[in-house]
């Protein structure tokens, strides 16, 4: 028997076995910070960075959920409209109960947001898994539905949050704890919980297996339907959390809330190193991806080299480069 029993060489291999997909996003982030500092000294100031990261929080939180969906082999185009829809329902609910419940309308509204998010995710998941419809098409459909619903609810205008709640709700977006803006703390917490689920729990294994090879998962006694549906529900919850943070920033729900977020979210996930065809999800990479997107926009505003009208173009170049790096590191 020549079975390997010594664990020392194994450990060493494991340490060296870091792929570009794993560390790429963080290297890119670091490089971006250096470049930014060279272009404009103010770039690295605590205020500017805190601002940028806070702004990236929505995309980061939603993209963490998208990491579940994409690594399980799905896709969700409806996240932007879903965010708008949840924001609308939440504000309407809060406004309705505010006269009776006062401040308590806020936590109650948050709970409603989470429940609506779960329901939206469940709907997406069931259409994709039980209905056996391509995720792209299924969520393209619900994307239209959510968007139309919020337009209908707002009557094409805006639903502002009740004056009596505005002041109390404000800190959720604008407040800080120990100097760190709350949205940043929330996105770090979301990412931490997500990475525990994805890397430490049984569900994470199932999710990766379903995404990597549906047949292997099925033949291993894993329910593909359940696993995928749960991923969509997680996505719904993440959208709800992002919406909860978002309400104080705008103070209203409008039909244009969250427009094109889905593209930014998918970009963040892919830059983060998660393969669009499914398999292993990279939660922290996704967060880095979301920050990178916002940093680029910020850099372009701060610098005079490139017009900020070209932000989308630069982001487009970034996603293509990210895909090329993935291909390169996979084909080795």
């Amino acid at each position: 028997m020549t079975a390997i029993t010594g664990s020392a060489p194994t450990r060493r291999e494991r340490e060296f076995n870091i792929s570009w997909t794993d560390i790429g996003p963080f290297l890119a982030l670091a490089a971006l910070l250096v470049v930014g500092f060279m272009i404009n000294q103010d770039f690295l100031s605590a205020t500017n960075l805190a601002n940028v990261i806070t702004r990236s929080a929505f995309i980061a939180i939603i993209a963490v959920g998208a990491t579940f969906v994409i690594s399980s082999g799905g896709l969700d185009l409806s996240v932007g409209s879903m965010a708008a829809f949840i924001t609308g329902i939440t504000i309407m609910f809060m406004n309705a109960v505010a006269p009776h419940a006062g401040i308590w309308a806020i936590p109650a509204g948050m709970a409603v947001a989470i429940v609506v998010g779960m329901a939206c995710g469940l709907a997406n998941g069931l259409i994709v898994t039980v209905g056996r419809i391509e995720p792209f098409i299924a969520t393209l459909g619900t994307m239209g539905i959510f968007r139309a619903l919020i337009t209908y609810l707002t009557d094409g205008g805006t639903i502002p949050i009740d004056r009596s709640l505005r002041e109390a709700y404000r800190p959720v977006y604008f407040g800080t704890v120990a100097g760190i803006p709350i949205p940043i703390l929330i996105s770090v917490a979301v990412a931490a919980v997500a990475s525990f689920i994805l890397y430490k729990m049984k569900y994470g294994r199932k999710c990766a297996a379903v995404g990597a090879n549906e047949d292997v998962a099925r033949y291993s006694g894993i329910s593909v339907i359940k696993t995928r549906t749960i991923a969509y529900i997680v996505q719904g919850v993440c959208v709800a959390i992002a919406a909860i943070c978002y309400v104080p920033r705008l103070g209203a729900a409008t039909p244009t809330t969250g427009q094109l977020w889905e593209l930014q979210v998918i970009t963040a996930v892919v830059i983060g190193g998660t393969a669009l065809r499914g398999g292993k999800g990279h939660v922290w990479g996704t967060v880095a991806g979301a920050v990178i997107l916002e940093l680029i926009a910020n850099l372009m505003v701060l610098s005079d080299f490139v017009s900020e009208y070209l932000v989308a173009a630069v982001q487009g170049v970034i996603i293509i480069i990210a895909m090329l790096i993935q291909r390169f590191s996979n084909s080795k």
Partner: protein, 528 residues
């Protein structure tokens, strides 16, 4: 010289075909045709003479190299060595189109038609009739209707291929090969998807071609068909030629023997003396729509039950149905209790392990490390709290690596980096990690080398020695005979017979698998 060839020689038939002097020149001649993929030789030194107006059958077990030979002859694969000539002129095919232009048509075993196009479109795909740049649909439809009528196929030329039956699709493929005047038409398992009348029609077409002076190469698992129509039979075994024999001199029994004849060394473990204990798994009237019908069997504690049959006989689908991987109806009793599995999970939890035949596609996550692969079916046993117990998993992997002698460079390797044999051992370890009492192993040794095969046979023997019941599905007859206590043979979704003890011979299994003939269940010694 192999045992089987000797038997035929003793049987009085001449081995080599003595051509009559001045016989027609071969339309297709192959000399020392060989094909290697890397270090693996799949076909070596094949000599063939195909005469005009002759039906030349090629037979052999799964993996004997028949399909590779066909691909070589029709330009889909380039030979590593050897040469081809047609009518005395050397030819070389690098692309299928070249073989086609030279007059060789191949009717594929798989249906290769564009489903969204019409029957006529498919018939003329790549060689459309046209006036200048405009295709002449009317002419193509008319001609298609003519050709289809000629072979007795009643589908409309304007029907979409996706709307017609599998048998009709096969007929359309055949019609494609008859569209031009080919000198050689190769049929690769043409009757695999056909039944009764359709087979008769196909054989008629083949005879028509022969009467027309076309040379026909006919590959089939169905020895009864071969016996009926073949003028010559070439037998392949393990990529080598056993010989070419005049069709009339071989009966099905001879053919089966020539196909399988080989020495069985100590590859197989000693069978246990008194294997049969109490019934463990009993299945009544299992039906998997489209694949298996009314299959009943019982496997006992300590028994290895084999399922033989050709590819497509429905064995895999039958067991996938029984363990809840595809829709099926069956009365299943596990250790005396009636059970029904709606999902593979339920089957695993009840104590039935199923090892898939498709190791790379359905068995292992090739890009994943070994430990997550090993524990994937048994995740529940590896999370003490909320989180997965990495240490438990690592320990389980070390045990599996030791127990099943999985050879690897490091424990951090990915499953795809293991050799086929080691992947198979990992898969076996994965299935056994759920501690099943009944283990169903589909193709235990497909594509792995002889040393790993012997080890896997020993593991299977070890399982039943521990009181488990084992079902082995295999397309390699000698493997089943080597390790099984009993063998059920399936053909076209039904069990055609059972062999055990004295009657468990390769020729009996081959006969049941190919022709479904029943009365020939006799022991090897009595047939001379």
């Amino acid at each position: 010289m192999s045992l089987a060839a000797n038997i035929v020689a003793e049987g009085g038939s001449t081995l080599r075909l003595g051509e009559a002097p001045g016989a027609a020149e071969p339309v297709l001649h192959a000399e020392n045709l060989s094909k290697q993929y890397g270090p693996v030789t799949v076909l070596s030194d094949i000599k063939l003479d195909i005469l005009p107006g002759e039906i030349h059958a090629i037979i052999g077990e799964n993996g004997a190299g028949k399909s590779t030979l066909m691909r070589l002859l029709s330009g889909y694969v380039e030979p590593t060595r050897g040469s081809l000539s047609m009518g005395g002129v050397p030819v070389k095919f690098i692309r299928p189109a070249q073989a086609q232009n030279a007059g060789i048509a191949l009717v594929h075993q798989e249906i290769l038609l564009a489903e969204a196009l019409t029957v006529a479109d498919n018939l003329f795909l790549g060689r459309e009739l046209s006036h200048g740049a405009v295709v002449d649909d009317r002419a193509m439809r008319r001609l298609a209707a003519e050709k289809l009528a000629q072979i007795g196929c009643m589908v409309s030329p304007t029907a979409l291929v996706r709307d017609i039956s599998l048998a009709d699709r096969q007929m359309v493929q055949i019609a494609r090969a008859l569209l031009d005047d080919y000198r050689v038409v190769i049929f690769d398992e043409p009757t695999a998807v056909l039944t009764g009348d359709e087979v008769e029609r196909l054989l008629e077409i083949v005879l028509q071609l022969k009467a027309h002076g076309t040379a026909v190469l006919y590959i089939s698992h169905r020895l009864d068909e071969v016996q009926r129509i073949a003028d010559k039979v070439t037998v392949l075994r393990d990529g080598k030629m056993v010989g070419t024999y005049p069709g009339k001199t071989l009966n099905q029994m001879d053919m089966a023997r020539l196909m399988v004849g080989r020495e069985l060394a100590a590859l197989y473990p000693q069978k246990s003396a008194a294997p049969c204990g109490v019934p463990m798994l009993s299945v009544r009237n299992a039906t998997v729509p489209g694949h298996a019908k009314d299959v009943s069997f019982t496997v006992h504690k300590g028994e290895i039950l084999g399922f033989a049959g050709m590819i497509g006989a429905g064995r895999t689908e039958l067991f996938e149905g029984i363990v809840g991987l595809r829709p099926a109806t069956a009365t299943v009793e596990l250790e005396g209790k009636t059970v029904h599995f709606h999902s593979q999970r339920a089957a695993i939890d009840a104590g039935i392990g199923y090892l898939t035949e498709d190791r790379k596609g359905k068995g292992l996550l090739l890009h994943e490390r070994l430990a997550p692969n090993l524990t994937l079916s048994a995740l529940g046993a590896f999370h003490p709290g909320l989180a997965m117990g990495r240490r438990r998993e690592a320990a389980a992997l070390e045990v599996a690596v030791g127990t099943y002698d999985i050879r690897l460079k490091s424990l951090g390797a990915k499953a795809g980096q293991l050799s086929g044999g080691n992947q198979q051992k990992l898969l076996l370890a994965k299935v056994l990690l759920t501690d099943p009492s009944v283990v169903i192993i589909d193709e235990p040794t497909r594509g792995i080398d002889i040393a790993n095969k012997a080890q896997i046979y020993a593991f299977i023997q070890g399982l039943v020695a521990k009181g488990k019941a084992c079902i082995v599905i295999s397309s390699e007859m000698q493997e089943l005979i080597g390790i099984c206590d009993r063998i059920l043979v399936m053909r076209e979704g039904r069990v055609t017979g059972e062999v055990s003890g004295e009657t468990m011979t390769e020729s009996n299994v081959a006969l049941l698998a190919t022709s479904g003939a029943k009365p020939m269940l006799v022991a090897e010694g009595e047939t001379k």
